[in-house]
Symmetry: C2
Subunit: 203 residues, 2 copies
DNA sequence: GTCTATAGAAGGATAGAC
DNA sequence: GTCTATCCTTCTATAGAC
């Protein structure tokens, strides 16, 4: 591969990421991607053969990005509360920079459930409970966290972090009516969300 | 209008609702809608002129459905805790019957923010805080609920109720890896969510 | 590797008969 | 009010020159 290959392929991939995030698979147009990449439409097919393949490349990259950001949660040097605070700060910060990500992933996985399986195969999200139980054996006694309600807690945490961005246009509109604005609402949320969850799970 | 008008228009509307919820505006095909309604494609245009108009009819009906189900929250005969419990039971039950609703609304409002404005105009969601303050003046002292953190609380409640359905295929896959199943997770959630929120907002 | 030109199919929309 | 036939545009994808 020459340098030109990489440059062009990279430009295509970036442009495709933009367009797919904005319009979704069905709404995206190959012409639009080509224009933004500053190249000809047929080059897209030269590098990726079909729209579907190009989409999958983008989807897997973007989805992995989302699920691989849980690293600090596995760190041994943080208390449970610190991990929760850390998570909300980091995760909300990432979403702040990519506000279109949640709707994109939610939408595409909902219309095509098989897509998520490959991504989750290589994630250790299934082992989360085992890790937590091992790392916080003593601490856990001070919280209402059990193997049984663990899915409820984890999905609530994800919900509180992700939903504001997934529902951004609705929330923005309502906040506007009440004299608030979205950006400061999000900034406040990093700490509020952590407090909220910690109170909710404390014994 | 004859009876036939209503029957056909109704069948079209029902079919359109199904298809739009399943595929979204961009993924939906007029031919598909016509087939499900058991009529010819050109009849769609006879009744609704364009795909866009048909979509708007469906979207407004469906979105209103979602925002008008907050009625019990305005009832004077319930305590704050009872309202929260009532909300989660009712709301999760509705979503259980229409699991595709959240992604549909999130997706379409995100790609076209103007769409939500007309719906929210006729909703009294902007006055929620005023109503709450009036109806629960004394009770409120036992909770950490202020005018300032009210948006944080409301969006957390919505998040906890809506997100499991918006992320259904992801959550289902993960639950599977952990030996749980989605349906019982949802059934448990009605009570768990209420407990979770009440603990989180108690002083 | 990149472009132009175009095939081939599909989708939304309309005309006109009944 | 409903159908058939068809127009027109748009979109993905490929052929072939450079």
């Amino acid at each position: 591969m020459t340098e030109n290959d990489n440059q062009t392929e990279g430009k295509i991939f970036e442009a495709a990421t933009e367009v797919f995030l904005e319009k979704g698979m069905d709404g995206a147009r190959m012409q639009d991607i080509a224009d933004r990449a500053g190249i000809n439409k047929s080059l897209l097919h030269y590098y990726y053969r079909t729209k579907e393949r190009l989409f999958i490349a983008v989807f897997e990259k973007v989805a992995n990005q989302m699920f691989k950001k849980f690293a600090p949660v596995y760190s041994e040097n943080l208390t449970l509360e610190e991990k929760i605070r850390f998570f909300f700060r980091e995760h909300i910060d990432i979403l702040k920079k990519n506000p279109g990500l949640p709707v994109f992933i939610l939408n595409e996985t909902s219309r095509n459930p098989e897509r998520i399986k490959k991504i989750l195969e290589f994630s250790n999200i299934g082992k989360l409970w085992a890790i937590l139980e091992k790392q916080h054996k003593d601490e856990l006694e001070r919280y209402n966290i059990t193997r049984e309600n663990f899915p409820q807690i984890m999905t609530s945490i994800a919900a509180i972090s992700v939903f504001p961005f997934a529902a951004k246009s609705i929330i923005s509109t309502i906040l506007g009516k009440m004299g608030h604005d979205f950006d400061s609402y999000i900034e406040e949320r990093k700490e509020y969300a952590a407090d909220f969850v910690i109170r909710a799970i404390k014994k």
